[in-house]
Amino acid sequence: MTTETASSSLSGSLMVRAEGVRKSFGRVEVLKGISLEVARGEVTCVIGPSGSGKSTFLRCINHLEKIQAGRIWVDGELVGYRQVGDKLHELRDREVCRQRAEVGMVFQQWNLFPHLTVLGNCLEAAIRVKKDPRPVATERARRLLDRVGLANKADAYPRQLSGGQQQRVAIARALMMEPKLMLFDEPTSALDPELVGEVLDVMKSLAAEGMTMVVVTHEMGFAREVADTVVFMDDGMVVEHGDPQQVLLRPENARTQSFLSKVL
C-alpha cells in the first residue's frame, strides 16, 4: 500500500520509472536490475555494446517481454500488471494493448506491414485500435506524412521506398497513436549513411516539440545534440548515466571509455 502511494506521487513528473528490472531468457540473465527514470518531455539516449540488453530493456517498457523481477511504470501506471494489496495480477490482453497503444515504438528493421500502403500502415491501428473515425485518421495521417516529408508517398507500398523513407513511415505510424512516450531501437543503424540524416532530423523536431523519448542509438552526434540524459549499459546493467557532456566526453567508467573510443 505504501509502495503504491509512494510510486504514484513520485511518478507525477516521471514518464518512465523502472526499478530493479530483471529479465532472463532461459538460464541467461540479460537484464540484471535496471533502474531508470525518464522525466516528462525528456530525451534519454541509451548506448552500449551489442548484447548489453538495450533492446530487451526497451521491449520490457512496452511489455513485449515479461520481466522476472522489478517494476516498470509508464506515466504512473504499472506496466503489464495491476497491484491489489501485496499481490500482482496480470493484465488482460485488452488492457495490455491499451497500455501499448499509448507508447510508440520504432524498430531497427522498421517492420512496416508490406501488404498495406504507406497510408494503410498509418491508418490500421488508428482506426482499429484507437477507434478514430476514418476521415479524422486520414487527415492526421496526411499531416504526419507531410511532416516526415512523405506526403507524396501515401499510396506507395513499403517495398517501393528507400530504407530512410520506410523508417520515416514507421515513425509516422507510431505517432498516429498520439503516444505519450516514444521508444526508438537503433532507428538508423540499418540505413545507409546518407539516409541517416533524414530520420535523425525528424527525431530532432519531435524532441524539440517536447515528446518524451527513449532512444537506443549509436549516433553519438545525435546523443550529444539532443539527449537530456545519456545512459550507458553493459552486460545487463546501467554502468553510467548523466548528462551527455559528462558521459560522452568525460566518462568515468573504464568500460564506457573503451566503448566510446571504438565508436567515436
Partner: protein, 291 residues
C-alpha cells in the same frame, strides 16, 4: 569499337533440352492420339453422357460440397492452427489431438459414422427441454457429408495454415503488438494476409484433393460427379467412357482452380515480398534454380 556495342550473344546450345521437349510433345501427342482413336474408347458414349442431366447433377453436388467445405474447413483450420501455436498448453494440446484424430480416421469411415450416428444416438435432444429429434432426420446425407468433409479438411488445413503462420516474420507481430493491436486483430490484419503467400500452393492442392474426395459421399448415398459416372458404368459397362466423362469435368474444375490459385499467389506474393532495397521488383525467386 565493337566491345562498346550491344550484346547479342548466341545462346548456349541445349540439344538435350530440345530433345526432351520433342520427345515429351511426341509422347503426349501419341498418347492423346492413341487414346482418341482407340476402338476401346467410345467417343459416342462420352458425347452422350458428357452433358447428361445425371452427370451435371453430380458435377453440381461435387462443386457445392467442395466449395462449402473448403470455406468451413479453412475457417476451422485457421482456428485450429492458431490454437496449435498459442501459448496455452491446453489449447495446443486440444488442437493437436484434433489434428491427429481427424488426419488419422479415413474420410470414408468418418462419413459412415456420421451418417449412421443413429447407431450410437438414436435420438438427439437438449437435456431439460422437450426438444428431441430423430438422429436420422437431423443427419441427412448432405449434412453428414458437410460434417465429415469439413472436419476432415479442417485438420489438413490447420497444418497448412500453421506452416504459413510460422513463416511470417516475427518483426511483423511485434510491430503490430507495439501499436496496441490485440491478438485477434493482429492475426486477422497482419499475420494471415502475409501467411497466405506460403499457404496458397498447398491449399490449392488440398482443395483439389477435396474435389476428388467428394466422391466418397457415394458411401452415404450422395451422388457426386465421379460416383455418378461409376453408377452409370455399372449399368452399361462403359467403364472407360464414363471415366473419361468425369475426368474431362475434373480437368475443367482443376483448370479453374489453378487459374484462381495463380492469381492469389501473384496477389499475395507481390505485396508480401520483403525487401531491404528500395523499388526493386525482384524476379521470381528461383529463376536461378533451373536450366
Amino acid at each position: 569499337m565493337t566491345s562498346q556495342s550491344e550484346i547479342r550473344a548466341q545462346p548456349v546450345p541445349r540439344p538435350g533440352l530440345w530433345a526432351l521437349t520433342v520427345v515429351a510433345v511426341l509422347v503426349a501427342a501419341f498418347l492423346v492420339w492413341t487414346f482418341a482413336t482407340s476402338p476401346n474408347v467410345h467417343w459416342n458414349v462420352i458425347a452422350k453422357y458428357q452433358f447428361s442431366h445425371a452427370i451435371l447433377q453430380g458435377l453440381l453436388v461435387t462443386v457445392k460440397l467442395a466449395v462449402i467445405c473448403e470455406i468451413t474447413g479453412l475457417l476451422l483450420g485457421i482456428v485450429l492452427a492458431v490454437m496449435r501455436l498459442s501459448s496455452s498448453r491446453v489449447l495446443t494440446w486440444l488442437s493437436g489431438l484434433y489434428i491427429w484424430g481427424f488426419r488419422s480416421v479415413p474420410l470414408l469411415v468418418q462419413l459412415i459414422l456420421w451418417f449412421n450416428l443413429a447407431l450410437l444416438f438414436p435420438h438427439i435432444g437438449i437435456p431439460g427441454t422437450s426438444f428431441v429429434v430423430q438422429t436420422n432426420d437431423l443427419i441427412t446425407g448432405f449434412v453428414a457429408a458437410l460434417l465429415g468433409l469439413t472436419l476432415h479438411e479442417a485438420a489438413y488445413n490447420a497444418e497448412i495454415v500453421r506452416g504459413g503462420i510460422a513463416a511470417v516474420d516475427r518483426g511483423q507481430v511485434e510491430a503490430a503488438q507495439a501499436l496496441g493491436m490485440s491478438r485477434g486483430l493482429l492475426l486477422r490484419r497482419v499475420v494471415l494476409p502475409q501467411a497466405l503467400r506460403v499457404i496458397v500452393p498447398p491449399a490449392g492442392n488440398q482443395f483439389i484433393s477435396l474435389l476428388k474426395n467428394t466422391s466418397l459421399v457415394a458411401f452415404i448415398s450422395g451422388g457426386d460427379l465421379l460416383s455418378t459416372a461409376q453408377n452409370i458404368y455399372s449399368g452399361n459397362f462403359e467403364v472407360i467412357a464414363l471415366l473419361v466423362v468425369a475426368s474431362l469435368w475434373y480437368l475443367l474444375l482443376v483448370s479453374i482452380t489453378s487459374v484462381l490459385q495463380g492469381r492469389l499467389e501473384r496477389h499475395f506474393g507481390r505485396s508480401s515480398e520483403r525487401s531491404t532495397k528500395p523499388q526493386r521488383d525482384e524476379p521470381a525467386p528461383a529463376a536461378v534454380a533451373g536450366a
